[in-house]
């Protein structure tokens, strides 16, 4: 369960919303991909808002990588369209994208520096412009002393960091990361998270996939959940969470359970000594409710709990398979 403060995030717009074109950097319209008789992706539509951190989330085999491959034109969708709206149209579309594939790989016999210079050249960044950036990034990633070493001498984690640098070195408008956290230790996961947030702050859009929902929850501000190749739900994180089912308010303090149960907006109360879990109706005015609670007795703390992405996913995926959609 995730904990958030009292402040509410911006008001919800409703689920399954589609952003207007100019606000989206990438729009996918009804794409499907079938391998033999199995749909890897089925009628998937989504819009990635410019400047967002957008997570495509789902269990293994849900169709995340297939979706990303279609976005990158590695696979051609059987049906549907994919369109980009880059701000800088003087740059080739390929050069506006940075891609970190799920299965990492670099030229093993090249040195770290050479491989980064080469990859940057393939994104139209000449060596004289890429070299200073490479130095800066290597030092940021604590890899400076490995600059002249061959890639095969590096540990797997270090190779991943080098590949991550090559993904973003050319400052793409859209960064696509397939399972970026897989294989990184907690320290490097944290480092990667910071960099992703910086990219967003710098105006880039980050699209990533992950099957670890707790991780996605920490960084993304928009998401699309997919399961069995189909969209389960999408929208801004806050909206997905608040729009999804009931809120729960946990109140700690010496309070009468019966009085809490009759407060407006409260559907049910589960009391356990000094801890009371209030299930709230969807339209409840939280501010008003909390001030009423304060008048009932000694309050040690109030927390608003939102359902985790994990539990939302389980509920939605379950609902989907029941309705057979």
């Amino acid at each position: 369960m995730t904990v958030s403060g009292f402040t509410r995030l911006p008001p919800p717009h409703g689920l399954h919303m589609t952003m207007p074109s100019q606000a989206s950097i990438l729009e996918i319209e009804g794409i499907s991909k079938r391998f033999q008789s199995v749909f890897a992706v089925r009628d998937l539509s989504l819009a990635v808002p410019r400047g967002s951190i957008y997570g495509i989330i789902g269990p293994n085999g849900a169709g995340k990588t297939t979706t990303i491959r279609m976005i990158l034109d590695i696979l051609a969708p059987d049906t549907g369209t994919i369109s980009f709206h880059f701000r800088n149209t003087t740059v080739a579309q390929n050069d506006s994208i940075g891609f970190l594939p799920e299965e990492r790989g670099l030229y093993k016999r090249m040195t770290v520096e050479d491989v980064l210079v080469y990859m940057a050249q393939l994104k139209s960044v000449p060596p004289n412009r890429s070299r200073p950036k490479i130095d800066a990034w290597l030092s940021r990633m604590e890899l400076s002393e490995w600059k002249k070493r061959k890639v095969q001498e590096l540990s797997k984690g270090m190779q991943q960091k080098v590949q991550f640098i090559s993904t973003i070195l050319h400052e793409p408008e859209l960064v696509i990361l397939d399972e970026p956290f897989a294989g990184l230790d907690p320290v490097n996961q944290e480092l990667l998270k910071d960099i992703v947030l910086e990219l967003k702050a710098g105006g880039a859009t980050v699209l990533f996939s992950s099957h670890v929902m707790e991780q996605a929850e920490k960084i993304c501000d928009h998401l699309c959940m997919i399961d069995h190749g189909q969209k389960v739900l999408d929208g801004p994180l806050s909206q997905v969470k608040s729009g999804f089912g009931a809120d729960i308010l946990v109140v700690e303090g010496d309070l009468p359970g019966a009085a809490l149960a009759v407060l407006p907006g409260v559907i049910a109360v589960r009391s356990e000594r000094l801890r009371h879990e209030l299930t709230l109706a969807a339209s409840t005015d939280h501010q008003q409710l909390m001030s009423r609670i304060l008048t009932l007795g000694r309050v040690d703390g109030i927390q608003r709990l939102q359902p985790s992405l994990h539990s939302i996913f389980l509920t939605m995926a379950g609902k989907n398979s029941k309705t057979g959609a």
């Binding site: 891609f99 670099l106 016999r109």
Partner: protein, 423 residues
């Protein structure tokens, strides 16, 4: 900045900086020269040894004089050519001595022994026994000297001057010249043959060596999934072209180095076997150099398309093997037929092979070495080959684009053929 050029440069840089390139560049000509020169050098060397022979006279009176006749022969070092053991023996005792000398020959104390009876010099032959009848030089020399001796005896018996007789019976040499549109050139069949072999070997090494290199580079990019990152930056066609052109340039660099090495060797005056020099003399003909280069380049391009297809469809050498065998056969066919067609380089079959891809590069280079090829045939052959390259490039591009991004199981041939029409 052109991305294709950046990729070609990487292939070129990496191709030239490898150990195998350096070793191949140095060793290939060394091995090739060795293949043709060592036999010649070895046979020259055996000429320069003293032969230990036994001469056994059974009732005749020829060998004593012969022993004296050849006792003055020397080899280049000044040592005597022959170390002779002479015995005159009665027929009754000959079997004992023969057993004795046979043992010596088998124990390598004698190189050979000869037995002469009374008939030698008239109707009979000199008998030679050796453990090793492949000592061609010794046998040839012995036969020549014995003939000289017998003829000298006969001319003396007729009252003629021996020296005069020798000069009168001197052999006449036959000098062969090859006729071409540009006129005549002094040439020898064996030289042409050796030349054809050398140039076909060069063609082979280049096409298969660099084709396989191209394929392995693709395997690396596929196995490390680098290919997906590449495709997010450049088109599959650019990837394919960078490989084909890059490796082609490495091949050309190697040829250039060989030419330089050849010029250095020629300038330094190192004596190579006459046949090797004779076979390579065709390099002095600009039209041959030009058409050889054309055939090498276009031939490489044609076969490299196939290697690119295999490299995109398969993901390891083992997987690629079944796709490569038939191609080797295609390229080998003219060479296999060469031994049958060597005397008719302008037969209809040979002309057909030298015009029609994929046989033409090898067949044409062979024909140009062995005979004179009309210009229009060279041009037609090159045009047909270039069209085949264009067609193969188109098909390879279509298949490559899908194949290189495939993961999982190796596709079947019908699946691969379907990709040609894919979107």
């Amino acid at each position: 900045m052109n991305k294709l050029w950046v990729m070609i440069c990487k292939e070129l840089r990496e191709g030239i900086a490898t150990r195998s390139f350096i070793i191949g560049t140095i060793l290939t000509p060394v091995i090739m020269v060795a293949v043709f020169m060592i036999p010649a050098w070895l046979s020259n060397r055996t000429k320069d040894t003293t032969y230990r022979i036994g001469l056994m006279e059974v009732g005749s009176n020829q060998l004593e004089g012969f022993a004296r006749f050849i006792s003055g022969d020397t080899i280049t070092s000044g040592k005597p050519q022959w170390s002779i053991a002479y015995r005159s023996i009665s027929p009754a005792d000959s079997s004992i001595l023969m057993r004795d000398w046979t043992d010596s020959t088998l124990a390598n104390k004698l190189d050979a022994y000869c037995v002469a009876d009374t008939s030698v010099g008239d109707s009979g032959a000199l008998l030679l026994y050796s453990a090793n009848l492949s000592r061609m030089n010794m046998i040839r020399e012995l036969r020549a000297r014995f003939t000289d001796y017998i003829i000298a005896g006969r001319t003396a018996a007729e009252g003629l001057d021996a020296t005069l007789a020798r000069s009168l019976t001197r052999r006449v040499e036959l000098e062969t010249h090859k006729l071409g549109s540009k006129g005549r050139s002094k040439s020898e069949f064996m030289s042409d043959y050796v030349g054809a072999l050398i140039f076909v070997m060069v063609l082979f090494t280049m096409i298969f060596g660099y084709g396989a290199q191209l394929m392995r580079a693709l395997f690396e990019e596929k196995s490390a999934r680098i290919i997906e990152v590449l495709v997010s930056s450049v088109t599959p066609f650019q990837i394919m072209m960078s490989k084909i052109v890059g490796q082609g340039m490495v091949a050309m660099a190697q040829v250039a180095l060989w030419v330089i090495m050849g010029l250095v060797v020629a300038a330094s005056g190192i004596a190579l076997s006459g046949r090797v020099v004779g076979g390579l003399a065709i390099l002095g003909s600009w039209s041959f150099v030009f058409w050889f280069t054309v055939n090498l380049l276009l031939g490489y391009l044609l076969y490299s398309c196939w290697f690119a297809i295999v490299g995109s469809v398969a993901s390891s050498d083992q997987e690629a093997q079944p796709f490569l065998g038939p191609v080797v056969m295609l390229l080998m066919l003219p060479v296999a037929l060469m031994f049958a067609l060597i005397n008719q380089p302008n037969s209809i079959l040979m002309r057909f092979l030298s015009l029609v891809p994929p046989f033409s590069p090898v067949a044409m280079v062979m024909r140009m070495n062995l005979s004179t090829v009309p210009l229009w045939e060279n041009v037609l052959s090159a045009l047909l080959l270039a069209s085949a390259v264009a067609a193969a490039g188109w098909v390879a591009g279509r298949i490559f684009r899908v194949g290189v991004l495939m993961t999982g199981k190796r596709p079947t041939l019908p699946e691969v053929l379907k990709w040609i029409h894919h979107r």
